[in-house]
């Protein structure tokens, strides 16, 4: 009973008690702020809301961790604290605008002293120039020495492997699951991805894009004659611009706007013509898509007749030094 009364008094004091400051004798630095009891209550209310939201976050975590509830409760809690602080800044804290001098532009005497101290330290040296040269040389050599181990990060001088591919004469074309592609499975107006049988599909030189065109539509240049297998053409799936996978085939969807079927890269829209040996019709690619010569074997499966007619992947300084190997 008595304890309950004490508690009630304590609570009332906490809620309604105010500080009344005695008049101070020393002069103020921060000017006296005019009181604003309603703003105080608003700020306190925001703090209360922030606490509720924070507890809400703990509850949300405990009952399952729903991302929306977690974000909402934590975000709101922080925003309520911000609101309390802004009310404090706007209504409860004295608005004073002070002025003072900017720091001086420079300290000329000190600058001279610094120069003097540094210079005078070297007065005992008779061969100053030679010393400077020596320091410079050592700095350069030591710097170079310390940089050398960087070369262990990777094969800096080797670039040949950029040109290699796993494609060889007789290698079968398989799908993502390693199943060989049958020529009859390749239909018109659709495109297919193929890999060299038994090779790493993640290698840049591996993936192919296959499409079937009406044989009459093919206009392959002389050096690519016979690269197709009865209208089925195979190109490297890696764009020669920036290494993305060619994953759009414009046929027959865009027929009215764009008359010819085309292979398109979704990164920067390099557009290649599958009928003319992968030549660039539009976009930023600088080289045609490398074409793989293929044939249909006795059982109807697709096989490579050799390697690509050009280097795979984006351009670099040595990309055109590639020579076809049969």
């Amino acid at each position: 009973m008595r304890r309950g009364r004490d508690l009630a008094v304590a609570l009332l004091t906490l809620l309604l008690g105010r500080i009344v400051r005695p008049r101070e004798s020393r002069g103020r630095i921060v000017p006296d702020a005019p009181g604003n009891t309603s703003a105080e209550l608003v700020a306190l209310a925001f703090l209360a809301l922030a606490s509720f939201a924070a507890v809400g976050f703990i509850v949300a975590y405990a009952v399952g961790g729903n991302t929306q509830y977690l974000g909402l409760s934590l975000g709101l809690s922080l925003v309520f604290v911000a609101a309390a602080l802004i009310v404090t800044a706007r209504k409860l804290v004295v608005a004073e605008e002070l002025e003072e001098d900017y720091p001086p532009e420079e300290h000329v005497v000190e600058q001279e002293r610094v120069e003097q101290i540094v210079e005078e330290a070297g007065d005992g040296l008779t061969r100053r120039r030679l010393f400077k040269l020596g320091l410079l040389g050592t700095g350069g050599a030591l710097g170079l020495a310390l940089l050398t181990p960087v070369l262990s990060l990777g094969p800096f001088f080797t670039t040949k492997y950029y040109l290699g591919t796993p494609w060889r004469r007789g290698r079968r074309l398989v799908d993502e699951n390693g199943k060989p592609w049958h020529a009859d499975a390749i239909e018109r107006d659709d495109f297919y991805t193929a890999f060299p049988e038994g090779a790493n599909p993640e290698e840049l030189g591996s993936p192919l894009v296959l499409v079937r065109l009406p044989p009459g539509d093919l206009r392959l240049p002389a050096q690519l004659r016979g690269y197709d297998a009865g209208g089925i053409v195979a190109y490297s799936k890696i764009c020669t611009h920036a290494g993305c996978a060619i994953s759009m085939y414009r046929a027959p969807l865009f027929q009215p706007a764009e008359p010819r079927p085309a292979l398109v890269c979704p990164c920067h829209y390099s557009t290649f013509d599958p009928a003319t040996g992968g030549t660039v019709i539009f976009g930023p690619a600088g080289r045609p898509l490398p074409m793989l010569p293929i044939e249909v074997d006795a059982r109807g499966f697709l096989r490579a007749k050799g390697n690509f007619d050009g280097p795979v992947g984006p351009s670099w300084w040595g990309v055109r030094m590639w020579r076809p190997n049969p």
């Binding site: 977690l70 001098d101 611009h241």
Partner: protein, 451 residues
């Protein structure tokens, strides 16, 4: 209590005078001065959420097969890195909230830095004695772009994997040394061996954050040592600064902004989905998503790569300049080179080597405003060109026609916009002069009438 703390600190560090001065450091009151602060608070959120994510992320491309609760990915081959990000997003409690907040904070961080840079540029706040502060700031932007790109790439999802392939191709296109540098960096051919992930991870969670943090300290120290700039209003002069003291005026404002920034970021992280990597799937060399769009701050680079027509500069079989170099290296180098050197270019153009504590309104420096608007609109047009594929899908505008339009626009419009900005500045200043003259004349006339 306060006295006790201050006494303790002062007796051990002799800093009571310094603390006293810090409490009364003056902040000029203008909303645009808060952009840099937003960047600072976003950085703090990034570090806090980032540390949490490192506790769950696996920096390995070792192959694994997914057996988690997200059905569409079950049985799929993927890297440990991708699997760990899927785990963070699905099974770690509060993991998705922290990950999305981290991603949102990165986007807001870069945006706040860019807006802050624009404020500093168009008001001439970078002039002596703050040119060094400016250089450090621009370097931070550069480090931040790299940091954001690496963080985005670490997830090893299909979208970021395409971004990494593009970054690799752009690196390959550097004349003479590109292929060698990429070989060094990726430890062999792309898609690199597993050593790339620990490297990217080290850079993303340690090297670059430490660099950005150090530059931040240097940047803020220089700001405080030279004090803030200010706009000319009434009492402000080149020698006297007018502002609100840290305590009690500025502290609740800045803290309020800090809490508001963090609050909004967590609201976004909880309520607005960003980069749902479980939908993109794991990266494979032979896959690509359509309509791929990177985070916004890379839009200008994807635009640059899309706009430059396809040609490699070849001399006798030696590919001197592969195509991606123009949009991916040359374009950002020119833009950043301009941003870096502009204070010195302006000094050369105007012959102004004075100290400046009062900043300009954009109209007060028509030449700077015109050149700034020109360069900004150039970058912006290329940025918009980066979204032309979305415009094709959403509005049915022909992609090809758009690219040709943007190619022309990027060459012509910056000059037009720059000229318009120059003219507008002059007109605004002239109209102010006319208004002032009229006021004076009216006052004179009134005075004469009265007498």
């Amino acid at each position: 209590m306060i006295r006790k703390v201050v006494r303790y600190l002062d007796q051990r560090s002799s800093t009571a005078p310094f603390i006293r001065k810090s409490l009364r450091y003056l902040f000029p009151d203008h909303w645009s001065f808060l952009l840099g602060e937003v960047a600072l608070y976003a950085f703090i959120v990034l570090v806090a959420t980032g540390v949490y994510l490192t506790l769950f992320f696996v920096d390995s491309t070792a192959p694994t097969v997914y057996h988690g609760p997200y059905v569409p990915l079950q049985g799929q081959h993927m890297s440990e890195a991708y699997a760990s990000v899927v785990r963070i997003s699905t099974t770690v409690k509060a993991g998705l909230l922290i990950r999305q907040t981290h991603h949102w904070a990165a986007n807001v961080f870069v945006a706040a830095i860019v807006l802050h840079l624009l404020r500093v540029f168009f008001t001439g706040a970078y002039r002596k004695p703050r040119d060094l502060t400016y250089l450090i700031g621009v370097t931070m932007l550069l480090a931040t772009l790299l940091e954001a790109y690496l963080g985005y790439s670490l997830a090893d999802d299909l979208l970021s994997g395409m971004g990494l392939a593009i970054g690799w191709s752009v690196g390959m296109s550097i004349p003479f040394v590109g292929a060698n540098l990429m070989s060094l960096l990726f430890h062999g051919p792309f898609p690199g061996q597993s050593s790339l992930w620990p490297r990217m991870y080290l850079a993303h969670v340690f090297l670059l954050p430490v660099l950005i943090g150090s530059l931040l300290v240097a940047h803020l120290t220089l700001v405080v040592l030279r004090h803030h700039t200010q706009f000319k209003r009434k009492r402000e002069t080149e020698r006297r600064i007018v502002g609100i003291p840290t305590w009690p005026g500025q502290a609740p404002r800045s803290l309020g902004l800090a809490f508001a920034t963090a609050g909004v970021l967590f609201l976004l992280g909880g309520l607005v989905q960003i980069n749902p990597i479980w939908l993109w799937g794991p990266y494979h060399t032979y896959l690509a998503t359509n309509g791929a769009q990177p985070d916004w701050y890379l839009g200008w680079l994807i635009g640059g790569l899309r706009l430059v027509p396809g040609f490699d500069v070849v001399i006798d079989g030696y590919t001197l300049v592969p195509g991606p170099f123009w949009g991916g290296v040359a374009f950002p180098t020119v833009v950043l080179g301009f941003v870096y050197t502009w204070p010195w270019i302006e000094r050369r153009l105007t012959g102004d080597r004075e100290y400046h504590n009062i900043v300009d309104r954009p109209r007060d420096a028509p030449l700077r405003t015109a050149i700034g608007v020109g360069v900004l609109s150039w970058v912006f047009i290329v940025f918009v060109a980066g979204s032309s594929d979305r415009a094709d899908v959403v509005f049915g505008l022909s992609y090809t026609a758009q690219i040709w339009f943007y190619r022309m626009a990027a060459l012509v419009l910056p000059i037009v916009f720059g000229a318009i900005a120059y003219r507008v500045c002059h007109e605004l200043v002239a109209s102010e002069r006319i208004a002032a003259d009229r006021k004076r004349a009216e006052a004179e006339a009134k005075a004469r009438l009265a007498s």
